[in-house]
Amino acid sequence: MTSSVRSATVRFGPTVALDDITVEVPGGSVVAVVGGDGAGKSTLLRALAGEVPLDAGTVEAPPRQRLGYLPASSGSWAALTVTQNIDFVAGIYGLAGEELTARRTELLDRASLTPAANRLAAQLSGGMRRKLGFVMAIVHRPALLILDEPSTGIDPVSRIDLWRLASEAAASGAAVLMSTTYLDEAERAAYLIVLDSGRVLVQGSYDQVRAGFTGLVTRADQPVRAEWTWRRGRALREYWPGSDPPPGATAVAPDLEDIVIALSLVRRQTVPS
């Protein structure tokens, strides 16, 4: 089944956290929401999870017991062991006995947490704690899995573990919506949504986003217009939204980072912030 928010607007006092956003999360795929601090990622996820009421628009999501949600904060109880954390959450969903033991064993193994089963959550590394949160969110086989920045601040090896776990959930039919601040991670998703100040900057598959991008990005050894120029390593890039670049400029194939920067610059110059 497909979960969605349509024409969703959420205000916190004078702040518009989400501004007329439509997002679909089909079963069997990983959808990534990407954006910086304050872009509206968490609000979008919480709206879909039913944790934040909409000021306008509609939400379609499975009932609570078919929903798994990993919040941006820890998502586990520090004073309980890994096993106690999982069993507690599983109990809420009515999982017990041999069925629970089998499910817990399977998930601990897949998350490479088996050696830490009896450790207190407080004694886990950041990456292990996120994986425990993930296991707790998925223990009841939810139809919609919502993960709020599961990989922020954790090392690449744990990130790959988390991606494998999310991919497994999607491969077995769940709709997975995860937020991230890493654009290279969003490239990996079947569908990506870039948020900027509560609005969708661009969305689609990575191929669609690249195909829909207009204008030219050039290598700018001598940038002509500073306001359209940015740095990638030691080199500079310049964006030409409509007009042609000067003769002799070398066009580059923009990656997602270039595309997002170029579109953000367009937005800054058309919408006063």
């Binding site: 910086g36 872009a39 491969a171 990996r188 079947a190 900027d196």
Partner: protein
């Protein structure tokens, strides 16, 4: 500024029976941005704490600006920790006054993006603005060496551009910059990379040097979910990349066998590995560092 700014020579640090940093030699020169990579527990933080003079070496030698990292030399150092090191209960202005007094310099002028926030408590600022304040506090005394821990974590694309402009400007005026990062895009902004694993320096140089002989295979198939499940069950280090599947350091023939047994049609293609895949291989112990 000439000469080596930051140098570790055969540095080892043990905590009891545990060797956190094992015979590491590295250096940072003026004008370069060096990226320090490694999984959690690889020894990055211990190495940095020794370079900064916060903990002692068990053996080997650390030089900051040509000598031991004492108080006088540390005045010429700028450090932005991942937690930013600001006082949340003080305002932007108070935080900057404090660091200016500590370095005995004049208080910095606020950039246009922060002028409206001078009297705001730091903990009430958005993360991007907090990062700007932390950079300002660490840079106003024009340090010769700059150490940054995950400098652009949680910042949007334009915010990253602005922070990297600042970092580059420091390198261009001659400072040496050491950046620890988990973000592969951030790694690509560096001039040179160092990769640590299990306390040792296992690779250094360009992205290609870091990836070394690690390879990957892209699996393209109409039914990625089944292919993913089959390869995962066979214990292969699988990752999803869009609708295709990547497997690091795999033998294409072996993967083809697994897929054939599961009756899945797929095309297999060798592709360049990523830095992350090299790190995954190191962590899995399939490669002896």
């Amino acid at each position: 500024m000439t000469g080596v700014l930051l140098r570790a020579g055969h540095v080892t640090r043990r905590f009891g029976g545990f060797t956190a940093v094992d015979d590491v030699s590295m250096q940072v020169l003026p004008g370069e941005v060096v990226g320090l990579l490694g999984a959690n527990g690889a020894g990055k933080t211990t190495l940095i704490r020794m370079l900064l003079g916060l903990i002692a070496v068990t053996s080997g030698r650390v030089d900051l600006l040509g000598g031991p990292p004492d108080r006088e030399r540390r005045r010429r150092l700028g450090y932005v920790p991942q937690g930013l090191g600001l006082y949340g209960d003080l305002t932007v202005r108070e935080n900057l006054s404090f660091s200016a007094r500590a370095y005995d310099i004049a208080e910095p002028a606020l950039p246009a993006t922060l002028t409206g926030h001078a009297g705001v408590l730091v903990r009430e600022l958005p993360l991007g603005a907090q990062r700007q304040v932390a950079f300002l506090a660490a840079l106003t005394h024009s340090p010769d060496v700059l150490v940054l821990d995950e400098p652009t974590s949680g910042v949007d694309a334009l915010g990253r551009v602005a922070l990297w402009d600042t970092i580059r400007a420091q390198a261009e005026r001659g400072a040496g910059v050491l950046v620890t990062t988990h973000n592969m895009q951030e790694a690509q902004q560096c001039d040179r990379l160092l990769l640590m694993s299990d306390g040792r320096l296992v690779a250094q140089g360009s992205e290609a040097d870091i990836i070394g002989s690690t390879t990957a295979v892209a699996v393209r198939t109409g039914d990625w979910a089944q292919a993913f499940a089959a390869l995962n069950a066979a214990g292969a280090p699988v990752m999803l990349a869009g609708r295709s599947i990547r497997v690091a350091n795999a033998d294409p023939a072996e993967l083809a066998g697994v897929l054939k047994a599961a009756r899945i049609e797929a095309s297999l293609q060798p592709v360049p590995a990523t830095i992350e895949e090299r790190m995954l291989m190191l962590a899995r112990g399939t490669e002896v560092p």
